[in-house]
Amino acid sequence: MIFDIDRETAPREDLEPLQLSRLRNLVERVHANVPFYRRKFEEAGLRPEQIKTLQDLKYLPFTEKQDLRNNYPFGLFAVPKENVVRIHASSGTTGKATVVGYTHRDVRNWAGLMARAFMAAGVNRGDVVHNAYGYGLFTGGLGVHYGAEELGATIVPISGGGTKRQVMLLRDFGPTVLCSTPSYSLFLYEAAQEAGMPFSDLPIRVGIFGAEPWSEEMRLDIESKLGLIALDIYGLSEIMGPGVAMECAVAQKGLHIFEDHFLPEIIDPNTGEQLPPGATGELVLTTLTKEAQPLIRYRTRDITSLNYVPCRCGRTHVRMNRVKGRSDDMLIIRGVNVFPSQIEALLLETEGLTPHYQLILNRQGAMDTLEVRVEVDEKLFSDEVRHLQRLEGKIQGNIKEFLGVTAKVKLVEPRSLTRSEGKAQRIIDQRPKV
C-alpha cells in the first residue's frame, strides 16, 4: 500500500519537471533571503536564472555541516523568525551545535513523509508503534511520532532509556511496530530475555531502524532474534529528520528517497565530482520544499549508491542502498579505508557472534594499530582455551583477508563494552593528532 500514490508512483517524466520547477524556485528564494547563499552564489559567479535544467545542479555550491555551525543559530533561515514553529538542534558533540528550523508547512510535510515511510514498511492504522527513538532536540522521536499519528496508527511515545520499563510496556501494550536504533533493538532483546519474556511472544511484526549505520548481517541477526521484519530508515536532522528515505517491505532492497522533496546526487567525496548512476560515493541532498531552512547540495558524508531500477513495490522514486558508512567515519588504517560496518559484517559472519564489539585505534611509532574487542557470550564460549584462541585467529584472519588490515583481536567479558542506550560507541581512536 502506498500513502501518497500520485507522488510516490509518478512516472519519472512527470517527477523530473516537478523537481526542476522546485529547484529553480528554491534557488531564487535562497538567493533573495539568505545572505550566506547569496554570497556563495556571487563567489561562484552564479545567478539564479542560470539554473535551467536538473543537470545544472552541479554548478551550485555545496553546503557543509560547518556552514550550519558557522551560521548558528538562525543565520540560514529563509523566512522571518516568526514563521518558524519548531527548532531542533544537534547535540554538538563534534563541534558547535547545528540548528534546523521548521515552518508549519515543513512540519506537516515531515509528518506526511513519515506516514509514507510507515506505509512503505507495511504499517497502517490499527498498528501500535513503540517509539524508542529519543524525544527532544533529537529529530528521531518527534519525527516518528507525528508520522504515526498522520497515518492513523497508535503511537506509544516511550522515548529512549528506562529499558526495564520498555520491556514491561512491550509486554503490556502489545505493539506491532518497533522504532529504535538497531543496536538498541538488540539491547531490548537482551533485557527481555533477562526478564524471562521471549521476544518471539510479542506481536511485533516490523522494526524500523535507523540513526546509525548497520549491516545486512546485523539485519539478519535482528530479524532472527526479535522475530520481525527489520527495515532501514534514513534521515538527517540537518535535512529534516527521519523519513528522507525508507526501505519498502515489498522489496527490502534499498531505501526510496522521496524525490519530490529531496534531490539526491552521488559525488566523489575527495573531488566533489558527480559520479555516474550506480557508482558508490557520498550522498548529497538538496531540499526542494523546505521553507524555513532549505539546504542546497548538502554533503551528508554518507557513503552509498543510487539504484534507478524500477522497484516491484510500484514506487518510482530512486532507491539508495544501505549506507556503508560515513566518509568522515571512514578509518584510514595504514593507508587502507575501513568502515566499522565492514568489520561488523565480518563479525556477524563468524558463527554466532553478537555485534557487541569495539575498535581501538592507536599508533606505535609510525604504525597505526587496530584492536578489535569482541564480547564473549554464552553462545561463543568454550571450556577449552584453544577453541577461543581459534576464534580469535579466525576473526583476525577474516579481517586480514577481506579488509587487508592486520588487527589484534581481544575477547572480553559480556558488558565490558559500554552500552549507551542509544547509539553504540564502536570506535575509540587514541591515535595522537599529527
Partner: protein, 143 residues
C-alpha cells in the same frame, strides 16, 4: 558417572578471579576443585562446586559468561606410574585428553584426577573395562 563442571570466561584483569570467589562465597557455594587455564588476554576458570546449578545461576546474574561441561573423576593409585598407566591405556585406545586437573580430598590412599575427554562415553567404557574406578558426581561432591 559424569561430573558437572562449570567453566567461566575471565578477562586477564586484576580482581576478576576475586569477583568469582566472592559471588560463590556469598551464595554459600563450596569450591571442591579449581583449575585456571589462561593466555595473556583471557582465562578459563574451571570449577567443581557443591551446587553447580545454583553456582551457574548466581554467576550469570553477576554478568559472567558460564558454560557447563561433563567431566570424569578418576581414582588414580597414589604410587609412581599410577597416572601414566591410565594415560597409556587411553592413548592406546585413541582417547584424547582435552585437559585434566587434580581434585582436592582428605585421604592419601588414592588421588582423584578430573579429566575432560574428547569421547567421554568411550573413555568411561574403557576405564571401567580395565577396572579403573570412576567416581560418580554425587559421590564426588561429598568426598
Amino acid at each position: 558417572m559424569k561430573v558437572e563442571q562449570i567453566s567461566i570466561f575471565l578477562e586477564n584483569r586484576a580482581g576478576r578471579l576475586t569477583d568469582v570467589t566472592r559471588v560463590l562465597s556469598q551464595a554459600g557455594i563450596n569450591i571442591r576443585a579449581l583449575s585456571l587455564a589462561d593466555t595473556s588476554d583471557f582465562g578459563i576458570l574451571r570449577l567443581i562446586v557443591t551446587d553447580h546449578e545454583r553456582a551457574k545461576q548466581v554467576l550469570k546474574e553477576n554478568g559472567f559468561t558460564v558454560g557447563r561441561t561433563s567431566v570424569v573423576a578418576v581414582e588414580v593409585d597414589d604410587r609412581p606410574g599410577g597416572l601414566h598407566a591410565i594415560l597409556e591405556l587411553l592413548s592406546n585406545n585413541q582417547i584424547n585428553v582435552e585437559y585434566m586437573y587434580a581434585f582436592v580430598q582428605q585421604t592419601g590412599k588414592d588421588a582423584v584426577m578430573i579429566f575432560r575427554f574428547d569421547r567421554t562415553d568411550q573413555a568411561i567404557e574403557i576405564l571401567q573395562k580395565n577396572n579403573i574406578r570412576i567416581i560418580p558426581g554425587d559421590e564426588l561432591y561429598n568426598l
